[in-house]
Symmetry: none
């Protein structure tokens, strides 16, 4: 069973707004077990909308449109849907009365524009819209179903959840569900990770795919089944096999982020943390603190900018004059730990570089009361993802220390 989504509106094509309707509908259809192979966006032009709808109805059992149902001169979805289904537009008297009542209740007068909204393709089923003025409809062509919904996200979602999804479930006897499990890894690139699991990425159900972010690579296991429990049973053995290969790289699952996992690990152990950062400019601090409730573990952070002021107090400056070696980073971790009175100190420093350039080497260290326990230099990534890699390098150093895993 195949579905397509068509979002309609010139404002979407001009880039004035980002279309969030398509991805929201996509997720609903995927949970329902409908295959969504395409989405389209088309401007406010009746001929072009009709052309897209004809193509979609020719290959897909369900086509859902959003937008273009309003009262203004650039709303063309009704006309285009009628043309694509070879139907005439006709005035629906019940709809007209409803629209009239809507305005009367609010002390407003219905304009000629609004009468246009009561026109629907002959043979279409009117879908009541209790949360707005744009009437919606569903119409068949050669056994394929076209559903036209408003573009206002709030109205569209209401109609999807209360009318369209139940209708689709019943019409197509859809009991199949699609479930995903995501293993989140960090500090390993997408190709290196894929190399470890290539043979596991060719199965059909569940499928296994990777997605790269800055410093983080996700492995997604997706199963289709007749019920959620069966989908889980398809996913579980694949997750076990994946973890046998990449277990140490996996820091969390599904919606977990590395900062959330670090807060949990620190909290479970009752450990407080202080950080000292140079090349990350305060981002390490805000990254960790975004995941922190008021009972969190990070007690303070020092953001230093070279060259350091000679008269900075308290001995910190003396330990960090250059910050261009692992030994100096170790000293920074110890110093920030002591200064904030925390159980652990985490420091990230960088090599000395010419003006305006990013450091090519990063130094990281975790310090405890016993002295520096783990510190490693890392070659810095370049380009737009460098900042994300730095954060994950630093976070993973701490994660591996807390879990007793080897540093890599």
């Amino acid at each position: 069973m195949q579905a397509e989504v068509v979002t309609i509106g010139t404002e979407l094509l001009l880039g004035d707004i980002v279309d969030t309707n398509a991805s929201w509908i996509a997720r609903q259809l995927s949970w329902l077990g409908l295959n969504l192979f395409y989405t389209h966006t088309v401007g406010d032009n009746p001929a072009r909308i009709a052309e897209v709808l004809r193509t979609c109805l020719g290959r897909s059992e369900v086509v859902i449109t959003t937008g273009g149902l309003g009262p203004t001169v650039d709303d063309w979805t009704r006309e285009a849907a009628a043309a694509a289904c070879d139907a005439e537009l006709e005035l629906d008297q019940d709809l007209l009365s409803e629209i009239d009542a809507f305005f009367t209740q609010r002390g407003l007068v219905m304009t000629a524009n609004n009468i246009k909204q009561a026109m629907i393709p002959r043979g279409a089923l009117v879908l009541r819209n209790p949360v707005g003025t744009a009437p919606c409809f569903a119409i068949e062509r050669n056994g394929h179903l076209l559903v036209s919904l408003p573009g206002v996200p709030f109205e569209m979602k209401y109609l999807m959840q209360n009318t369209v999804l139940p209708m689709l479930r019943e019409r197509f006897g859809l009991h199949e569900v699609i479930k995903s499990r995501v293993l989140r890894t960090c500090c390993i690139g997408e190709s290196a990770l894929a190399d470890l699991i290539t043979d596991l990425m060719t199965s059909d159900n569940p499928t296994v795919g990777t997605a790269a972010h800055a410093g983080q690579t996700d492995v997604r296991i997706t199963a289709k089944a007749d019920d959620p429990a069966l989908a889980d049973r398809l996913i579980a053995p694949v997750e076990v096999r994946l973890r046998e290969r990449i277990g140490d790289w996996v820091f969390g699952t599904d919606q977990e982020t590395l900062p959330l996992v670090l807060q949990r690990l620190l909290g479970e152990r009752g450990l407080s943390l202080a950080t000292c950062e140079i090349p990350s400019k305060g981002r390490l601090s805000s990254w960790l603190l975004e995941a922190q409730e008021d009972t969190g573990s990070l007690v303070g952070s020092l953001v230093l900018v070279p060259p350091f002021q000679a008269h900075m107090r308290d001995g910190m400056a003396l330990d960090l004059t250059l910050s261009s070696s692992q030994a100096e980073c170790d000293a920074a971790a110890l110093a920030v730990r002591a200064w904030f009175g925390a159980d652990l100190g985490l420091a990230v420093t960088g090599s000395q570089t010419p003006a305006g350039e990013e450091p090519s080497m990063l130094y990281m260290a975790v310090a405890t009361a016993d002295g520096v326990v783990q510190g490693i230099p890392r070659r810095s990534r370049s380009g737009g993802t460098a900042a994300g890699w730095l954060l994950h390098y630093a976070g993973d150093l701490l994660r591996r220390y807390l879990l007793g895993l080897p540093q890599v």
Copy 2:
């Protein structure tokens, strides 16, 4: 001249991520004067990608794709583009050497997966991608142009701006220019600002429009003309009239950000700065430092997390036990200034709040050697824009102090 955009990736269809590439490209093409009538999203399936590309190339002079150029088994854009253009894929030796060099420089080994990235359709023009590993290409079919770009937004934007847009401008002789001048204001809401300039917002060429961001409102003057100098002459008098109304609110123009302006103002005066922040969690520091070259003015930042450690050294803890009054914020500004030995101290603290809630009052202060010079409390904004408003409140306090403008 008609263009279409095709974004490729099953993750887009599953609704895991919202596609922002299509709308970004849409805006660029609209500035260029190309008509964009359709965009499409298609999953990682070579036959379906090829089908969409064939449809697009059949009716549009320019087709731009993003995504599906990576090294993994679910990256199919190369194959689909070749099929849609009836071309064979072939190994490009130059590309292979480049990819190899990319990995070697980083001390990594190229995997078999990466070799696949050097395959491009025969007859295609390779577009160099200096900011990533995914090679891109442009290929013609019956005089229509297909351009395939990476899905990573950073890489896609770089290639659009540096390669594709100049190529399209030359190929289609697009000479009409659209020029914009943006006046950037902060700490005034969009409707309040629009109220000051309503009568200036109704002209046709140039147009005047506003756009709201978190804590910042832009006023954009846009002119169409046959050459850039003529566009500038249309814009200049409108800018003068706007500045007469909103001059003190304007902190910069065009690509300037408030941190960039602050760095310039501090630099011109030879002043160094230290910051102390609580509710902004390190974001104030990274926001200011993103705009800072190595000769910058910010020398260090202290990010504190309540409740403060009683045994924190050096008297800072004593001054900041509660951080719930303007007087304590003033003390923090003085303390951080002294501790880092800077000319100026900037502090942002917040009122005491129940667990998990944002502070409802923000306190801000600028300190000099003479004592606190300016400190004001601000009611915190709520919702998703609160963080941005906080940064602009703090930055504008410093800007108005440096320029001798009244605080508002």
